[in-house]
């Protein structure tokens, strides 16, 4: 059987195919088709099947990472959407947290809600803070508000009632009435999208979900149908922001969960490849054309965050904690009003692209700097794309003149600044959260990650860099090794003591019941079922929580309830690491109970790099590379494909492959491990 991952990016659609029987891997890359992303997927899949000799009924699974939801949000191309909310609160989505995005900028505003005020309708009902019904919801009330929604042109409706996470009945009744009356519109209930307290974040997430439902629903249906024709025996999985797959139907209902679909897949791929390399603790650096994503992985697990801003709107959902900075190959160098040089966040993008692409770009970019310094070759993608060093020099020359620098020194300055920006991003996910980056390896991927990893690692005093075998296609690889996943949450605010530990048993049983039902629905065998249970906890009166993992149980085994007492020590430990202190005397409370259900569907892994070799690798050539402004160094160039397990390369060296390039600095030593990773010892 073949497991295939397909990651749709802004420029390219990448494929990673794994034969589960013999471990064979086939890669493929095709230009994306933004007007209809499924075209590139199906065309690319056809080409891959033809070139690799994959038959239609040999495909067991296709996993898909998508940016359709994110792009729909950024371009505001979602549906016309109405909101139903509790009487007295229709402005809540507009007020948000009553804060401005920038303290000093009087013209910067958070965007207005995607449902304008005349599309937001109130219904007479109220649930209180203990889940009690303060004002009942009447049939007349339901009819009146459903009439109101029916009276406006709308493709979707978000139902957002206060305290629905404690008592979802009112939302469900309204949802049922809507479905009956308006069967063709998308409907999102806040108690289903994210049943957690803090109304603004829940409502905003629900509204975004409704806004996306019609568009993504159509996309998923089309893709599902056309894919079934190509690969009748395969299951289609859609990657979610929390780093696991869901069914196409689920994705159509919960499109907001795909907001970070692609980057999350990259992190899953990084975890997998780092685990093969025997490195449980890594910081990822995924650098592409316009931005760089960094994430921290500890003990083979990525940190999960719950709050994120997408296209100016807050969403609250479990998501891999990824920090993005506007630093990519296309990032443009410019001078600020005080004369200091900056790089990014403005990017030349794919069109016109950096000056050296010869498509009309004239601004100096990071790629132009890399080309001038000999770090990039004069052609990319195996010769399919020429880079013009003269155009790059011309683009950088005015900047060099202004600085009174040589072009090479200016190019090094551009790299220095873009590296400083990435270093700050890494510090913010490590140092600022109580982790020392020196305890981690740097996993560099994306087209440009390994070009700059040496500089980033040096600045942070990190001693080791890992470059996976196919750094440009790691997201697609992550999709192949992903499991099926579903997150369940219940908000229960209870003091943490012996009595309440018994009181949560009922909630836990309920959550587990829902998880088991989901497993059954997805056809996951008992042995492949895994539940991770965690509690969001805090000190009483704190306004933020820490997610404290409790147990991971396999195959439907009952958890040992007595071990709940261990949560206390784990909470202290986490509080100490996150906030620098803890106290044993202050009372603790539980706020949310979380259950992550994982259905193991990923294939077994095999080493792929073949026979170990102790011979010296031979370079395919050499070129002048600038590591310092004074002089260049004649540097050997190797082909990645020619390096086999056990071989090593001493810097300075450049390693080229189809869609990525690795710079090994003078003083560094790279060797290839059994899984094809390039492990670079910094300053060896």
């Amino acid at each position: 059987m073949w497991f295939i991952g397909v990651d749709v990016g802004g420029t390219f659609t990448d494929f990673h195919a794994l034969n589960t029987a013999d471990g064979r891997v086939e890669l493929h890359k095709t230009p994306s088709t933004p007007d209809d992303p499924s075209r590139a997927i199906l065309d690319g899949l056809g080409a891959l099947m033809a070139s690799a000799g994959i038959k239609a009924d040999e495909i067991g699974r296709l996993a898909h990472g998508t940016t359709v939801a994110t792009n729909t949000l950024i371009q505001r191309k979602g549906a016309s959407v109405a909101v139903i909310t509790t009487e007295g609160f229709k402005d809540l989505l507009e007020i948000g947290r009553q804060i401005r995005p920038k303290m000093y900028d009087m013209k910067a505003d958070h965007p207005p809600p995607l449902a304008p005020r005349h599309m937001r309708f109130e219904v007479n009902e109220r649930i209180g803070g203990k889940g009690q019904e303060i004002r009942p919801l009447t049939e007349e009330g339901i009819n009146a508000v459903v009439d109101a929604v029916a009276g406006v042109e709308t493709d979707a409706c978000a139902v957002c009632l206060l305290f629905s996470f404690l008592a979802p009945d009112h939302e469900r009744r309204i949802g049922a009435a809507l479905r009956e009356r308006l069967p063709d519109i998308g409907i999102s209930l806040s108690s289903e999208v994210q049943p957690e307290f803090r109304e603004y974040e829940r409502f905003s997430t629900t509204l975004l979900n409704a806004y996306l439902q019609p568009v993504i629903g159509r996309y998923m249906k089309t893709l599902g149908r056309r894919f079934a024709e190509v690969a009748p025996k395969a299951r289609l999985g859609i990657n979610q922001s929390s780093g696991g797959l869901m069914s196409v139907e689920r994705a159509g209902d919960m499109p907001i969960r795909t907001a970070l679909s692609g980057p999350a897949a990259g992190t899953v791929g990084a975890i997998h490849q780092a685990a093969l390399a025997g490195r449980p603790d890594v910081i990822t650096l995924d650098m592409g054309g316009t931005s760089a994503d960094v994430a921290l992985i500890q003990g083979n697990e990525a940190g999960i965050g719950y709050d994120r801003n997408v296209a100016g709107f807050p969403i609250r959902l479990p998501m891999i904690d990824i920090h993005t900075v506007g630093a990519g190959g296309g990032s443009i160098a410019w001078f600020d009003r005080d004369g200091l040089m900056k790089v990014g966040p403005l990017s030349a993008g794919a069109e016109p692209g950096p000056a050296c692409y010869g498509r009309g770009g004239t601004e100096p970019t990071v790629s132009d700097a890399n080309l001038v310094l000999g770090r990039l070759p004069d052609s990319l993608i195996g010769g399919a794309m020429r880079l013009d060093v003269e155009l790059a020099r011309q683009a950088i020359q005015p900047t060099a003149d202004r600085l009174g620098f040589t072009v090479e020194k200016t190019a090094l300055g551009i790299l220095g600044i873009v590296v400083a920006n990435m270093v700050r991003a890494v510090r913010s996910i490590s140092v600022e959260r109580g982790h020392d980056p020196r305890d981690f390896a740097l996993m560099a991927f994306g087209g440009a990650g390994a070009l700059h990893a040496g500089d980033v690692a040096r600045e942070l005093e990190m001693r080791e860099i890992i470059v996976p075998p196919a750094p440009g296609i790691l997201c697609a690889q992550g999709l192949v090794v992903s499991d099926l996943k579903e997150d369940f949450v219940a908000t229960r605010r209870l003091p943490y003591d012996a009595e309440t530990l018994a009181a949560v048993a009922g909630d836990l049983a309920d959550l587990r019941g829902r998880a088991e039902a989901w497993f059954a629905e997805e056809g996951i065998a008992m042995a492949d079922r895994s539940l991770r249970i965690a509690f969001d906890m805090r000190y009483v009166r704190q306004n933020f929580e820490l997610t404290v993992p409790w147990v991971e149980i396999e195959g439907g085994v009952e958890p040992d309830m007595s071990s709940l007492e261990a949560l206390r020590a784990r909470f202290y430990e986490l509080h100490e690491r996150t906030y620098g202190h803890y106290t044993e005397t202050d009372p603790i409370e539980i706020v949310n109970i979380r259950v992550a259900a994982v259905g193991r569907t990923a294939p077994e892994q095999k080493a792929i790099a073949g026979e170990a070799s102790s011979s010296e690798p031979s370079p395919i050539g050499s070129r002048a590379v600038w590591f310092a402004a004074e002089a260049s160094v004649e540097t050997p160039v190797y082909e990645r494909a020619s390096l086999s397990a056990g071989q090593s390369v001493r810097g300075p060296a450049v390693v080229e492959q189809l869609d990525a390039l690795t710079v090994i600095h003078p003083g560094d030593l790279a060797r290839v491990d059994a899984h094809g990773n390039l492990i670079i010892e910094v300053g060896a």
């Binding site: 507009e94 007020i95 947290r97 804060i99 303290m103 900028d105 600020d336 400083a420 009166r541 306004n543």
Partner: protein, 568 residues
């Protein structure tokens, strides 16, 4: 010390300066987060009422953490000025930590803000200082929280700390520390906050020393100078872009902190080439109530405003401050002297900003905005939970309208200018306190009409559940409306109301003191809206139609300001 290590070193180039200032920014941002995380009190942990900075050996601000509070700039500068006046450089040693909070002697702006500074030495030579400021939830004095209205002398507001040396060469002066802690409520929490401040200083010191070790201290010192010089140049260029002239504006506070009388703030702003002089002569003498502000606090408010109007992205350092001259006669509300009380100076800061915008609206019409809600509208509910018997205090500051702008409407229901604190979710309030929030929304007709209308005020209706609680409110712009600009109409003022059995029955004072609130009653908090920008007659028909469709304005209001609805 007469020689400077920066002599004979060329100015660092724009690339080196950018990379180094990026590293310095990391130092203060990291210290900011470390302080936030290790502090004990909610005020720091969640409302982020703290700041971190690096200053050079002359006491000049080099860089401030990105999320720092604008008014805290004043405390950094004030403290450094007081420190360098009191201590000779020969008396400043590695491991010392200085503390201060007093607005009259220690460079502070109000007592709860405790500023700390630690000198940073490299190879035995002073490179500069790392500083932080934290708003302590209590600093003693006559009322819990040290912020209540009605206080008339600084002595009533809490413990006054001049610049003192709290650590000498790395050793804490326990006797002094014991005095600091004995004079405040909830001593353990305060100790935790102090420890967090010490730790953040030590962290920033270590990081700065690392940078010096990597690059040479001489280069770092030179980069300090370069950053300030470049920012000063950028600010001076921006000021030079303002048409020369003398511009005046006057506005009033609703009360003097005790009595409802108009208290004037008067400004004469002179722009002369690269010079900008803000003279507040003619402003009210300092008031008996605690709305006074020391001159360096006034300067911080003026600088916020210039930065916001001219160049929001300009780095926050001494270059901005050096480019601006601010004067006010000593003994007036904006340059108060001992024993003036100052706790509520935030309201006054908001009004200073309105006045500066009003004055500069003539030369800078595109950067000006209608008057915003101009307040830190505060509502406090306190009592005991009838279920648990536990005491609770729920305090919140509410946003309101932001003024109309030259190319867009003012934002509705938002914190403005120097305040940017988040609201507490309704679901958090009701899970935590025995209170019911009956509604939370925008107030119809509260945004001033205009070509670009002013933002709308917020209304929140709160009722105690099953018990009687105490309500305290502090309002500004409750008697005077936020003005419109260039023909824009004023926004609505704010108000507090008592509601009985679902009917608003009685308007309350604008700073209602401890008031009993029973379960059949509710308090209505109405915050001010904001003024519009430009003549309402010039409002785009599409925008007028949107106003009508949104229901934010009554038909009567629409007809009055924009004419009758077009016939279908």
């Amino acid at each position: 010390m007469t020689t400077s290590r920066t002599e004979n070193i060329p100015s660092p180039d724009p690339v080196t300066t950018e990379i180094m200032s990026n590293a310095l920014q990391s130092v203060v941002d990291e210290a900011f987060i470390a302080l936030m995380k290790s502090a004990y009190s909610t005020n720091i942990k969640e409302r982020h009422d703290h700041s971190c900075a690096i200053v050079d050996r002359r006491g000049k601000l080099v860089t401030q953490a990105y999320n720092s509070i604008p008014v805290h700039v004043a405390s950094v500068l004030g403290q450094m000025e007081a420190l360098l006046k009191k201590y000779d450089l020969s008396e400043i040693h590695e491991g010392d930590i200085f503390a201060a909070n007093d607005p009259h002697e220690g460079g502070g702006t109000h007592l709860p803000d405790v500023s700390l500074a630690k000198p940073v030495f490299v190879d035995g030579e002073l490179l500069g200082f790392v500083c932080n400021i934290a708003h302590h939830a209590d600093i003693g004095g006559m009322s819990p929280g040290s912020m209540a209205g009605g206080m008339s002398e600084i002595y009533q507001e809490g413990l006054r700390i001049p610049v003192i040396k709290l650590f000498r060469r790395g050793t804490l002066d326990q006797d002094l520390f014991d005095i600091l802690l004995l004079n405040v409520r909830v001593r353990d929490e305060r100790r935790g906050d102090y420890n967090a401040q010490f730790a953040a200083l030590n962290l920033a010191e270590r990081r700065l020393q690392d940078i010096a070790a990597k690059n040479s201290a001489a280069l770092v010192a030179k980069v300090f100078e370069e950053i300030i010089t470049r920012t000063g140049r950028r600010m001076a260029d921006a000021i030079a872009g303002i048409p020369d002239g003398v511009y005046t504006f006057e506005d009033v506070m609703d009360d003097d902190g005790r009595e409802a009388i108009n208290v004037p703030i008067k400004l004469t702003a002179t722009i002369d080439g690269e010079r900008a002089i803000f003279d507040f002569t003619g402003t009210s003498p300092q008031t008996p109530g605690n709305i006074n502000i020391p001159l360096h606090g006034t300067k911080a408010a003026v600088c916020y405003c210039l930065k916001a109007m001219l160049d929001p992205e300009i780095p926050n350092n001494h270059g901005v401050l050096d480019a601006v001259e601010v004067t006010a006669p000593p003994g007036t509300m904006l340059s108060c002297v001992a024993p003036a009380s100052v706790a509520s100076r935030a309201h006054t800061s908001q009004r200073i900003i309105d006045v500066v915008i009003g004055a500069l609206a003539t030369p800078l019409p595109e950067a000006a905005v209608g008057a915003a809600n101009g307040a830190n509208s505060m509502a406090v509910f306190a009592g005991s939970d009838p279920d648990t018997g536990e005491a609770y205090v729920y305090l919140e500051t509410l946003g309101g309208g932001f003024g109309g702008r030259n190319d867009r409407d003012g934002k509705d229901g938002v914190q403005v200018h120097i305040t940017n604190t988040s609201n507490l979710p309704v679901e958090a309030i009701e899970m935590e306190y025995p209170l019911l929030v009956e509604s939370y929304g925008l107030i119809q007709d509260s945004g001033g009409a205009g070509k670009y209308r002013g933002g709308m005020g917020l209304q929140r209706v709160v009722r105690p559940l099953g018990h009687t609680c105490i309500f305290n409110g502090v309002g500004e712009r409750f008697r005077n409306q936020p003005w419109g600009i260039f023909g824009g109409k004023p926004g609505a003022s704010g108000s507090f109301w008592l509601m009985e059995d679902d009917k608003a029955t009685r308007q309350l004072a604008h700073k209602p003191p401890d008031m009993e609130l029973h379960p059949h009653q509710a308090v209505v908090v109405n915050t001010p809206g904001a003024g519009g920008y430009g003549d309402p007659a010039e409002r785009e028909p599409a925008a007028v139609a949107d106003d009508r469709a949104s229901g934010k304005f009554s038909e009567a209001y629409m007809t009055e300001h924009y004419g009758p609805a077009p016939k279908e």
